[in-house]
Symmetry: C2
Subunit: 309 residues, 2 copies
């Protein structure tokens, strides 16, 4: 990745370097996912095509970027960090497939393309999600990820913890029941942390784990990820409102239309923006032990709250 | 587990000892699953209840039995083999939840109880399956499963390989497309091996892996599992036909009604029974290296083709 020079203060230059690094990581992880999910000519190849369709979809690859940037702090070879990044992204992609299903959010489009159950069918989408989740653990367990089995099993523990009932799946469960739960601010923050924060933090932590970092450094990057993830989510909610206002002339977006509580609905637009900015500052503070080497991660936190899409 | 004395030739005595051992394992793995999946009072506890509903459902626990019996060959402490057994069973239970979904087999009942999506709802069922699959890897990765991280990561590799697109999920994909595929005998055998054989073999192999067995012994137990799994599946198909004949007076069961090719439809009832018996013999032959210590596994293979339910 590009390194930011210490005097590159203006926001555009920082953002430029970060965006270039994000793009480079996206290209590298796309190639890695393409390699890790080869097409299969056997009859079950249909589910592999659905996995590939979902995984090679042109997303921003924020989680892979965070995994690679965290691993860079510990000089992890790119061949290893890309496998960790790809595994985390597989879990993210599986969660999107299942979240889009008719029984969940019932979305027909994602990033302008038909969702997996629309492009293939519902059964294949369920199976493709299942297989991507399974493959993520297979990738981490493979000796190519790290020669030391203790490192690989620590990565498996991180991913299982972040993505199961006590993490991402638990967050999705709360989200589905949110209308009945009357969540307070702490409850809403917990929902967001579980649903999206845990896996973002997992990306950061896993980069440190594959770098055999001390537990203090793993925790610091995890805390960065939780703060960064919540800032990113609140910025999403802000964009949902401001984007709609610009495009449709209405002041409300799909979250409000769906009756979903967000930090925008609780704190107002300015309050939510301020909260996101303070979270980005929190995230950056957790990077202090890493000094200038963590400048890309710092930019990522600032990008999370200044992006326009 | 009870040991079978070498002169216990009569089938009833053998079956009695096996059945007693199967029942003991089922009770022990039920307790283990109950312990590994504690209820949670937080809002996401709803998905945990669904996981518990699915996992604590009174199944035969054949896969846990095989994992424990294989581990017994290598004198693995029961505390360790039960964790391996519980992990494999979690994957089996997740696969049943997802297979029962409306988009898949659309079943309302399983073992006389409403299926998970009928008892809870479809979204919760999808999430409960996802979380059980994730938790299975979390259980294997936990140091309580084995002190050596290299053993635990080998278990993760076994489970990921057996349950993903190149294993169980791939088999389910083929099964869903079977009507369009015009499978020959080899294709049907491959479907069955992927859909049910791989995870049964995984149970056997994992018992050996947690016992740090040589790769030859792991392979022997895996070969036993594949033959045993196919025998078990064909016996299921036979029971589907004979059970229906006894209960309904019709000579055909739900497989034939659903237009599904089985070894019964291909080989006829007697041919299928003979094939299952020869597979059970194959399975038993793979146990030769283990001598009398493998008598329960031998019985399990014979039980697979002589059971009445």
């Amino acid at each position: 990745m590009n390194k930011v020079t210490s005097n590159a203060a203006p926001a555009e230059i920082l953002a430029g370097d970060f965006k270039a690094a994000l793009k480079l990581t996206a290209e590298a992880v796309n190639a890695e996912l393409d390699r890790l999910l080869p097409s299969v000519s056997e009859p079950e190849g249909y589910v592999v095509e659905a996995m590939r369709y979902a995984a090679l979809d042109g997303g921003k690859r924020l989680r892979p970027f965070l995994a690679c940037a965290a691993a860079d702090l510990f000089d992890v070879p790119r061949t290893q960090s890309l496998r960790v990044a790809a595994a985390v992204e597989m879990v993210h992609c599986y969660s999107l497939i299942h979240d889009d299903l008719p029984a969940m959010d019932d979305d027909d489009l994602r990033r302008g393309r038909p969702t997996v159950h629309r492009q293939f069918d519902e059964a294949t989408a369920i199976l493709a999600g299942d297989a991507l989740l399974t493959e993520a653990f297979g990738v981490l367990a493979d000796p190519a990820t790290h020669a030391d089995g203790n490192v690989r099993i620590a990565l498996v523990q991180e991913l299982a913890q972040a993505s199961g009932a006590a993490g991402m799946v638990g967050g999705q469960m709360i989200d589905l029941r949110a209308a009945d739960l009357d969540l307070d601010d702490a409850g809403l923050r917990r929902l967001q942390n579980l649903k999206t924060g845990c896996i973002i933090a997992c990306a950061c932590r896993s980069g440190a784990v594959v770098g055999q970092a001390s537990s203090e450094r793993v925790e610091a990057l995890g805390a960065y990820g939780i703060a960064m993830g919540l800032a990113f989510q609140i910025a999403d909610d802000v964009l949902d409102v401001e984007g709609s206002a610009a495009e449709t002339g209405k002041a409300t977006g799909k979250d409000e239309a769906a009756g979903k509580a967000t930090f925008v609905s609780r704190l107002g637009l300015e309050g939510a923006k301020n909260y996101a900015r303070s979270l980005a500052d929190d995230a950056v503070a957790h990077l202090a032990p890493f000094g200038a080497k963590a400048s890309l991660l710092k930019e990522a936190a600032l990008f999370a709250v200044t992006r326009r899409n």
